[in-house]
Symmetry: C2
Subunit: 227 residues, 2 copies
DNA sequence: CCGGCTTCTGTTGTGCACAACATGATCCGA
DNA sequence: TCGGATCATGTTGTGCACAACAGAAGCCGG
């Protein structure tokens, strides 16, 4: 992690929150895992008090849940709620292009190009989900630049992060073809990049929507074969 | 406020959070107003520590913002962000009927009937925005029962609360016809009730959408005349 | 009279000790 | 041997004292 000790006190809490968000979304902390306030406070060189403030925010965001006398746990999502989120994301995907769209800046385009390159270079690593999770996580952040509607994009980012971490988690817990999933995602990034380079935000949104739909379908299919 | 001292410790924080949410949404605390941690802690008979945890959650929800050495303030929203939220709500209004709609239970219908009755009985009170704000706040809560998609309805409720408190606030700060606005809202509730009684959730959503649109238009009109 | 510095006051942020609580291990009696 | 109460341990929740900080009032030198 980045060193945060040198930061001014006001920003330190934000940096800490971002760090914990990353660890949860990048599956350093698995769904259901217990987080020790004492250990985390020690690791970051602070007392429990400011750490607890950060955990309270994460609890408000639905990423962790604390139980008195038991522990603080990374949240899991029931299948039903996951389905609800997917249904919602299908609709939201189109809204990004419809509400306050911003023509992608050269900066944004180059970010997408780097993402595409990383997607092509990504090789399946059965032992660590982190490279794939990292790529998706960065993709989510960059994608949030495509609309100026901050409330919408913040919400979409949140939902995407929730599904992404659970998707990657169950991906590694099952016998799905990891290489194939990586290839599909890399293809999505490239397709979206192509649409963006022609300035067609709506096409980019449609492509994204299609991939959300397909990803959800594959997830449900595996869920059925397991039960 | 309800007495919370007798509640078990775990729920007390939740009750406290709900209470502060209400006070902000019901305009007991105006946008921009400073909240004193010490005073609030005294009022609720607790120390600053658990209060600060609640404030941290509210800060995560965007209802308050703390500045080191200065104070904790109820958030205000820039006109631009308010417009973004309204644009978003126009789209979300239809999603409620489209995603995981639930046929309104008799319980829900009777709640809507009581809301309609309160709307008819509501008389403009230029001195206190609380009765109107209370009615809208309750309407928001009941409306959230119309879809089983919890993430969607939670988000919609949050956005609605944000616009509602700022709408009521500017309503009382301007010379708009208070009685007319109340009549319009009461009419909306009755129209929605009528649609729900025929089981037509989509019609109810369309009516709501229309009122969101009109409310936004009136808000913008007054904004122009003031500047 | 004025500009800059200092001091003072009130606020949020932090550290630490202890209370409240849940859970599993242990002990004891039947 | 078994059931239940009791205790031991580790966790989150709370209270309190103090640090860090921002802002305003006051002071002092020019």
């Amino acid at each position: 992690m980045d060193d945060i000790a040198h930061l001014s006190a006001l920003d330190r809490a934000d940096a800490l929150e971002a760090e914990l968000r990353e660890r949860i979304c990048l599956l350093d902390y698995l769904p259901g895992q217990r987080l020790s306030e004492t250990e985390l406070a020690e690791e970051f060189g602070i007392s429990r008090t400011p750490l607890r403030k950060v955990l309270a925010k994460l609890e408000g965001a639905g990423l962790v849940a604390s139980r008195h006398g038991v522990g603080t746990f990374v949240t899991e999502l029931a299948d039903e709620e996951l389905d609800q989120i997917y249904r919602l994301r299908l609709e939201l995907a189109q809204l990004a292009a419809k509400l306050d769209p911003v023509p992608p800046a050269p900066e944004t385009l180059s970010r997408f190009r780097r993402l595409a390159e990383r997607g092509r270079a990504l090789r399946p690593d059965p032992d660590s989900p982190r490279p794939l999770a990292r790529l998706i996580y960065d993709f989510i952040q960059v994608q949030a630049e495509l609309s100026a509607n901050r409330p919408l994009m913040d919400f979409a980012t949140h939902l995407y992060s929730q599904t992404a971490r659970l998707w990657v988690h169950s991906l590694y817990a099952s016998d799905l073809d990891l290489g194939e999933e990586i290839a599909i995602f890399a293809r999505e990034v490239e397709d979206i990049l192509q649409a963006l380079e022609t300035g067609d935000l709506e096409a980019a949104a449609l492509i994204h929507r299609a991939h959300v739909s397909m990803s959800w379908r594959r997830l449900r299919a595996r869920r059925l074969t397991r039960s």
